[in-house]
């Protein structure tokens, strides 16, 4: 996103996570216009420090489904952010929250689809042979 010229602010509880952001960059993350805040996502102070009030889009992609679903709803309801995307591993909950109006991305569901497609192709080629 930063390569495309957007202003990106990253919030992570691990202070070392910025090293990951900087991999492959020629200059430090912040020199590219990026922001990095250390804190936990449920802390209002951390969200504010990361600049949630001015955000046009919000991505909740921690490794916890429940955390993501809560902060996404905070972003949407409390801060009126129009574009909110949530990573949800559990396909059932991803579907339900999608139906409730959240934009969910479910890696598990995507993987299932890809695997199915791959198996389907394999089966087709066996049958064709």
């Amino acid at each position: 996103m930063i390569a495309k010229g957007h202003d990106v602010s990253v919030l992570d509880e691990d202070p070392e996570a910025i090293a990951l952001l900087e991999r492959g960059l020629d200059r430090p993350w912040e020199d590219h216009g990026g922001q990095f805040t250390v804190g936990t996502a449920l802390e209002m102070d951390a969200l504010l420090a990361a600049g949630i009030e001015n955000a046009d889009a919000f991505v909740a992609a921690t490794d916890g489904d429940n955390t993501n679903l809560v902060i996404a709803q905070i972003a949407k309801r409390r801060f009126d952010i129009e574009k909110v995307v949530v990573r949800v591993l559990d396909p059932m909950r991803a579907q339900w929250y999608e139906d409730q109006g959240l934009s969910t991305v479910c890696p598990t569901q995507k993987a299932i689809e890809m695997l199915q497609a791959a198996v389907g192709e394999a089966v087709d080629s066996v049958e064709a042979a």
Partner: protein, 229 residues
Amino acid sequence: MYVIIIGAGKVGLNLGRELRAKGHEVTLVESDPSRFAAVEEEFEHQAQYGDGSELWVMERAGVERCEMLIAVTGDDEDNMLICQVAREKYGVERIISRCNNPRNLQHFELLGVKPAVSATDLILRLIEHEVPKYGLVHLLDLPQERLEIIEIEIQEGSFADGKEVQGLGLPDGSLVIAILRDGTGFVPLADSVVEAGDELLLVLDTGLEEKITQRLGGPRNEPPEAQAA
């Protein structure tokens, strides 16, 4: 009543015991294998293993027919979402959630999860009760009904000291329901006289509290001679 309890730690387990002893049907859901094993020993088929925030685990526990769901895991996000889904997806009317970190109470509220019970808050209330600040204690909040019950101590020389209940000039939407004096309490009449050291219990509409403390605790607006006469 059929009650599902999610999280079988100390709180959940004891709640389960109490409710079962009172004759309610209970299911305890626990996601930690070793804790589950211990709970299952005691609760047998009334204990289920699984992550209570997953829909299929809730469905297996019978969320569709339960009359109350209590989320008491150690994780606030889990409790919030469990209750949100129980209410909005499965139509469970009565939910109770534990709030581990009082700073998260605002999030519970935002997601419409109430009541959220915070042990820290409860203890603070108790401390307030033991060591009242400004002589005012919240005894009970009924946010849905928009009512609260408070206890207020009458200071010597304050406006209320020596007044009849009907002369307190309390705002509409408030009522003195009891006076506690010398270790006993009574329901006052309109002409009961309030004395310094009394504790007044009042029921009032939410938001009137400040008006009332100012009124009762404020200075006397009559000269002392009138009081004596």
